[in-house]
Symmetry: C2
Subunit: 399 residues, 2 copies
């Protein structure tokens, strides 16, 4: 098998940890696999470099920030290659450039344009373990670029795609994807499998195992993605296409505490008014999530939506700036509870079970929105964790 | 003027120091100059990275060591560029690759093959200050290489040559080149000027301001080299071609404490025997310095030579291994005192003044060797500093 492994910052956080990673890589290599290993910077290194830059400038140039930050991953890649060679396994350290990672020119948030994996393939042919500095690439004019937050995961998935790898393992300090946050519900169970789409819903809803960009790319490239811990030998969670799934009805419950609700009353119920509201929010780059418009009485409608809490003030200012005769209410003491599962598509009664469950505990739903594989409900913040626990129980996710 | 400045590890050893360097660069830029700045790694960084590598392997691969070590200079280059931009001066950070520094493939001790300065020139044309990570280049197959000890000086001189710069300033934590080590002779005087050849003799004799490779390259490229301190505004020492010099008779006195003397007695005074001795030493990669053979009596000669102290045991082993009937003596309690000056060529009496001066203090010379611009004498180690002081006085170097 050709396996791409990616180790995050805590997994390579100390020299001892890098040594542990080397042993894990060797163990996979000894089973006859070809190994390509993507590494992050040692935990703390990137923040140290950012602090150093901020000593000189509140707003350091993006291009030079990329030169600076890319050094962290290069250091880890060299150290891991040295550790592997020291244990008798030929290894070679590649920068993003040497791995053939070509990006656009948007420094600090570059997008991968294509990968030229010739050098990686040649090194693999020679029996070498290839260690690649994650998070970075090179633009067509030769400048070092970085891929933004979660960039090393993205490097791993993209390289797995370019190499047509059999498996892409993302190593972190958590065991995999859980049915819900174990700090909220101790009975939360680690999932063996989850579909890309479910993972996307869970990630965007606050299960911070993998970032959306990486999962989206894995879905697009149809990569078998595994997220698991480098601190133990537990099996992780396999993230794959839906067609390969047996179809759990509900996979997990997510809690998003970062939402605030805005309700605009006194909206003329005629075409163009809602558009005006969301146009101004979009112009101000405010991320609007759930939107609900009630059918109006007497030609007057109410529109509710949610925004990230730290964008609430900006949203209200923007609406007030419209000069309309709106009455604007907001509430940041709310949370979003979401039920995610591909099985919902074909099973009826999932939504009604959720509504009943909450009703039995006298939890009022302020807003509801649904997609094919998700039901989200806005409830008072103080009921958030309770809602997660009773829903987890109702769908028997601990089984 | 086009000025190349190079700042060593202590000059960029902290964020505060990098800020000071930025001010110094800006001050030169404000005078209307074009600036290209070469930086070393922050002091301590390179040693830290070496220690990290040695945690994994006593003998880490050279290729990966270069990936690792080159990160230090990249970090400094990014930070200085950010500091300059933060003060309102457009700056761009280049790696060795981006500076067009092409080397051979001998990792950790690569030689510069050529420099393609197009990117540097373009950035200068746009009015930018160019900050370059020293010590590193790229081989023709795309791997990062490093230039070995003193490599950043070499980067600076080579780039000054490729750009046909008017001046190449090497900033360290010492004021320049002195007539002798001020810790030995407090009356030592900083030289305003010195020729390449004198500097070469002084460097190899223990005045550790600049390494020979850099001075040799400066001589070859006819670069006006200045060595000065980044910790004050004192004028440094200009290192230039002889033809531009007024011709001081004696420029400095150097003391080399790292020598040991070997005397081989009972050598058949016939062709081939001396050759045999020095062939085996060369095969063992022992650096032989001064060599003296006395004319023999009764067909038996004595040969004396010096080697670095840490190679003495290896040298004696090698000689014993020849299986000849030699009598081998050695003495590591010796030092080499050298008088250096281009004026010696045209002035007689320089050597006899040295011999007289030592004789007056009853210091015995065990060996003497001379070149066009240097007289070296081996004396007992305990007389080394005294010899330096009385010679400094005899040639009135404090004047």
């Amino acid at each position: 098998m050709l396996i791409v492994q990616k180790y995050g910052g805590t997994s390579v956080g100390t020299l001892e940890r890098i040594d542990e990673v080397a042993k894990r890589v060797i163990s996979a290599k000894k089973k006859g696999n070809d190994l390509v290993v993507i590494v992050s910077a040692m935990s703390g290194e990137t923040n140290k470099l950012i602090e150093w830059a901020e000593y000189f400038s509140k707003n350091p140039n993006d291009r030079e920030m990329d030169v600076l930050l890319s050094a962290g991953e290069r250091i880890t890649s060299a150290l891991l290659a040295i550790a592997l060679s020291g244990k008798g396994f030929e290894a070679v350290a590649f920068s993003g450039r040497q791995a053939g990672m070509i990006t656009d020119e948007f420094h600090t948030k570059a997008k991968i344009e294509f990968i030229n994996p010739v050098a990686i393939k040649n090194a693999l042919k020679e029996g070498k373990i290839v260690v690649i500095a994650g998070f970075q690439g090179i633009s067509k004019n030769g400048d070092v670029t970085t891929l933004g937050r979660g960039g090393s995961d993205l490097s791993a998935v993209a390289i797995a795609g370019a190499l047509n790898a059999d498996l892409c393992e993302i190593y972190t300090d958590v065991d995999g994807v859980y049915t819900t946050d174990p700090r909220i519900e101790p009975k939360a169970r680690k999932l063996d499998k989850i579909s890309y789409d479910e993972m996307l819903e869970l990630a965007s809803l606050g299960a911070k195992v993998l970032q959306n960009r990486s999962v989206e790319l894995a879905k697009k490239l149809n990569i078998n993605l595994v997220t698991r811990s480098s601190f133990n030998n537990n099996e992780g969670t396999l993230i794959i296409g839906e067609t390969k799934m047996e179809g759990a009805i509900v996979s997990g419950i997510a809690l998003d505490r970062n939402q605030a609700r805005v309700t605009v009353r006194n909206v003329d119920d005629k075409p163009g008014v809602a558009a005006k509201i969301f146009k101004i929010l979009s112009q101000k780059e405010i991320n609007v999530d759930m939107i609900i418009q009630n059918t109006g009485k007497d030609g007057i409608a109410n529109i509710s939506f949610t925004v990230p809490q730290n964008e609430l003030d900006k949203a209200i200012d923007a609406l007030n700036g419209l000069g309309e005769n709106f009455s604007i209410e907001s509430d940041s003491e709310i949370v979003k509870v979401s039920i995610v599962g591909v099985g919902m598509k074909s099973h009826s009664g999932i939504a009604s079970k959720a509504f009943e469950t909450l009703a039995q505990s006298n939890i009022n739903m302020q807003m509801i929105s649904t997609s094919e594989i998700r039901i989200s409900m806005i409830v008072e913040a103080k009921y958030g964790e309770l809602a997660v626990r009773i829903l987890h129980d109702a769908y028997e996710l601990d089984k």
